[in-house]
Amino acid sequence: MPATVHASREYGSHVAVSERTLVLIKPDGVARALVGEVLSRIERKGLRLVALDLRTVTVEVAGEHYAEHEGKPFYDSLVDFITGGPLVAAVVEGPRAIPAFRQLAGGTDPVEKAATGSIRGDFGLETQFNLVHGSDSPESAAREIALWFPDL
């Protein structure tokens, strides 16, 4: 099943194409007890949860997930971080779910890029950690959903 565009649904007079995105609440977000806050914002936005799981991720999955950072000389330290505590993985669905969640999350730098009112803008102040991850394109959403939820 294509994970990115899987259904069309009627919203009023126009047809909205629904898509799916992968959301992670990273170990720092779970440690700071922000899971409910993040999920609540996703639901209030009108996005829907398709899958949700609290888990401690394996080195293999973390390595795949951080493939974009493979060029960093301290890459294994990043893998250590994301495997160092439980995180929450979710698949979220809705019209334009990918950009919608990125809007909720805010820019990757919680102070310089993320606007007030976004997850990172509101909760990322005292850490450089950006708390959540959302797929950045339909291609990466398909890849990441297959990685984190192979049975979906």
């Binding site: 170990p27 720092d28 440690a31 700071r32 080195v59 293999e60 973390a62 390595g63 795949e64 493939a67 950072h69 493979e70 960093k72 000389p73 301290f74 890459y75 294994d76 330290s77 990043l78 893998v79 250590d80 971080f81 160092g84 505590g85 990757t108 730098d109 005292e126 850490t127 450089q128 950690f129 950006n130």
Partner: protein, 190 residues
């Protein structure tokens, strides 16, 4: 893709590379580096290292002090070196030049080595690199402070640091276990 083992003991002979962090360095002071630094700082703190915490230490507490550190590096107010072995951050240290009437001096802070690779001279490499930076910047005197009771005096003496004072009992490790903060300085004038 290969994800290497987390244990330095598996690869004692692997080379350790020294990097400069920040605007003038080859490693950016970005959020990815912040994540790596938090992991190292947390591991050092949990092992009882003298970097601002007493175990048990929550990673969130470490993250809160890493943020301003990264910001200071990004803004160029501080300079740092990082040691990397087999794609892991295993060492870190900061030189903080002073300003104004003290612009000929600097402070060395946050020197740390991952517990599993201690005893291989990595702390010495960090210190040597930071002192080289200080000389390059024209600093004439550098200072640092340590927590008493860790046996670090001999280590810093090797780099020319001598004690100039102490603040008795100013560091409370636990109720009933107060330690002195000991202040050292080194003369870098030729």
């Amino acid at each position: 893709m290969t994800v290497h083992s987390n244990s330095g003991d598996d690869s004692p002979g692997e080379p350790v590379m020294l990097h400069a962090v920040g605007p003038h360095g080859d490693l950016a002071a970005d959020s990815a580096f912040a994540v790596a630094l938090t992991g190292l700082w947390h591991a050092v703190s949990e092992a009882g290292g003298s970097v601002g915490f007493v175990p048990p230490v929550h990673r969130t507490a470490v993250a809160a002090v890493v943020a301003p550190e990264i910001e200071a590096l990004r803004a160029g107010r501080e300079q740092a070196v990082a040691l990397i072995q087999v794609r892991r951050l295993v060492g870190f240290g900061v030189l903080r030049p002073r300003r104004g009437l003290q612009a000929h001096t600097g402070e060395i802070v946050k020197v740390m080595v991952a517990p599993d690779v201690e005893g291989r001279g990595l702390g010495s490499r960090i210190m040597a690199a930071l002192l080289d930076k200080a000389r390059d910047l024209g600093l004439e005197r550098v200072d640092l402070s340590i927590r008493d009771g860790l046996g670090l005096a001999d280590f810093y003496a090797r780099f020319g640091f001598v004690e100039w004072g102490r603040f008795p009992g100013s560091i409370r490790i636990a109720p009933g276990d107060d330690r002195d903060e000991i202040f050292y300085w080194a003369d870098l004038r030729p």
